[in-house]
Symmetry: C2
Subunit: 307 residues, 2 copies
């Protein structure tokens, strides 16, 4: 990833997407019951770009029991001119993790006040990557973490301290929220974890764990407290993730949701006062997969003179 | 493919599908305008089977102009238990061609009267494979072919005579229909080629070229002449291919369509008299891709003792 300006690359993807220059069909989905698992197929292209992408990602929560990672994935690039395969990136989900971390970083940069303490909810891979990428956009190294497992929280604290953060474990989400003005939710929860009582003035929340219709991190009424609501993809967030719950329940009108790519082009759509509460809901868009896979592959070709 | 009983393998797939043992979401689709192209993603699994399949197929009709095949494709198999990739078959569309040919063969065997002359409409790869596979189920070697290009028809005649058929070129579809009691349509036409006036008593038609909402081979009223209408997938044929036109126009009631897997299990649903006209519309179902890819991969593992 060295030498790639991922913030720029992924931001350009969001901007193309919000300008309707990307063709991104609804996410394909396969669900399994025994053992439980879900597979997502995200695919699409930017008009007149070089490649189209088909990204396959799976989550099988019982894998850990047999000693292998729960998530897996690959990204396939094809030439837009001919349909011929260009590259199969067997990244096992790593590039999805990275493009998600970059989207979190972009939201933090765009919507946060000056960050005084970072709140991280969740202790998994994405919770780690979020901090790692936040280093690029803030000097704040103070972190409060909350996770359901104290042991996982301790592991998280130890590892993140190794990369330069000062991490404390919060006993409740509410306490975490009372101290942090940037809060990132990166869990695979299907029940709300953060409630409207937890919100305080000036906070920015990025909820990126809920990427399916069943997953959910934010409680009823949270979005009604927000001054600005941001989605990576409005059409996708109507169906998946936290924003979909708020729209379906009538808590917010869909028209209140602005799209990330539009804000990146026109920052007046973003935070205007220090007091505002801003909430971003990210479900992950194929345009991110397209941009990161294309960048990696082009960089590979360049290094190997395979143009 | 040697040693694999593809008729049995693909038939089992259709039967599982029609017994609702297969989870097959709607086909994913990407369309390109300049240059024109379409990409289909067919995916799914049979419950409690070993793998799930994701099949990617593309057609870029201008590829021939730069000397490469118009169609391409690959099949990916993943383990149902873990989501881990099992195999990536870079078959360039070959296995899709074969499973389609096998489906045509299955329909001919199930629905035709004793075949006295085979009519082939189309002169491409699929028109070739259909004859090749029909050898397995009929002794008839008399063929009439019709194609839009006389040169292509001549090429077809020459090649098919090399594998033991006696091929004549028909000057019109109508003449072809007056002599043949098994007719296979294997074109990429978007306009009807065969009309209701062309039909005669006792014929079986398999239309397999039209696999998208825009493609079409059979004219208005053709299905209303049929005694039995067969689809490989009723839900898919409501959206794609010739049957979809007949349903949308109100020419036939959807309830008249029987599913191939149901007939294969219960042949009373098939032809009952020599006079009946039977028409099968095939759009290609992911269960065929799953079955052929699984069989090829398992056979590979067996040969290489990689169990």
């Amino acid at each position: 990833m060295k030498g790639l300006d991922l913030e720029k690359i992924i931001s350009e993807g969001f901007i193309s997407y919000s300008n309707n220059l990307a063709i991104i069909p609804p996410v394909g989905e396969l669900l399994f019951k025994d053992p439980p698992g879900d597979v997502h197929i995200k695919y699409g292209y930017i008009i007149n770009d070089k490649y189209y992408v088909i990204k396959i990602a799976s989550g099988f929560p019982n894998n850990n029991k047999i000693g292998i990672p729960n998530s897996d994935g690959m990204m396939l690039l094809f030439n837009q001119d001919t349909g011929k395969p260009a590259a199969i990136l067997l990244d096992e989900g790593y590039l999805t993790d990275v493009r998600t971390a970059v989207a979190g970083m972009i939201c933090a940069k765009q919507f946060s006040n000056k960050i005084n303490m970072i709140g991280i909810i969740g202790t998994g891979i994405q919770a780690r990557l979020q901090l790692q990428y936040l280093k690029n956009i803030t000097k704040c190294r103070e972190v409060l973490v909350w996770g359901r497992s104290l042991n996982h929280s301790k592991d998280y604290k130890r590892e993140m301290e190794q990369i330069g953060f000062d991490v404390s474990i919060s006993s409740t989400v509410n306490k975490l929220c009372s101290s942090c003005n940037l809060i990132i939710l990166a869990t695979s929860s299907t029940e709300p974890i953060l409630f409207k009582e937890d919100l305080k003035s000036g906070v920015h929340l990025t909820a990126l764990g809920a990427d399916t219709p069943k997953k959910r991190e934010l409680g009823p009424g949270v979005f009604s407290m927000a001054d600005i609501i941001i989605a990576d993809s409005i059409s996708q967030c109507e169906i998946r993730g936290d924003i979909s719950y708020a729209i379906k329940s009538g808590e917010i009108d869909e028209k209140r949701v602005v799209e990330l790519g539009n804000v990146l082009e026109n920052s007046v759509l973003g935070r205007r006062t220090k007091e505002q509460i801003t909430i971003a809901g990210l479900t992950g868009v194929a345009v991110q997969d397209l941009k990161i896979a294309s960048a990696i592959f082009e960089s590979y070709l360049e290094k190997n003179n395979e143009f």
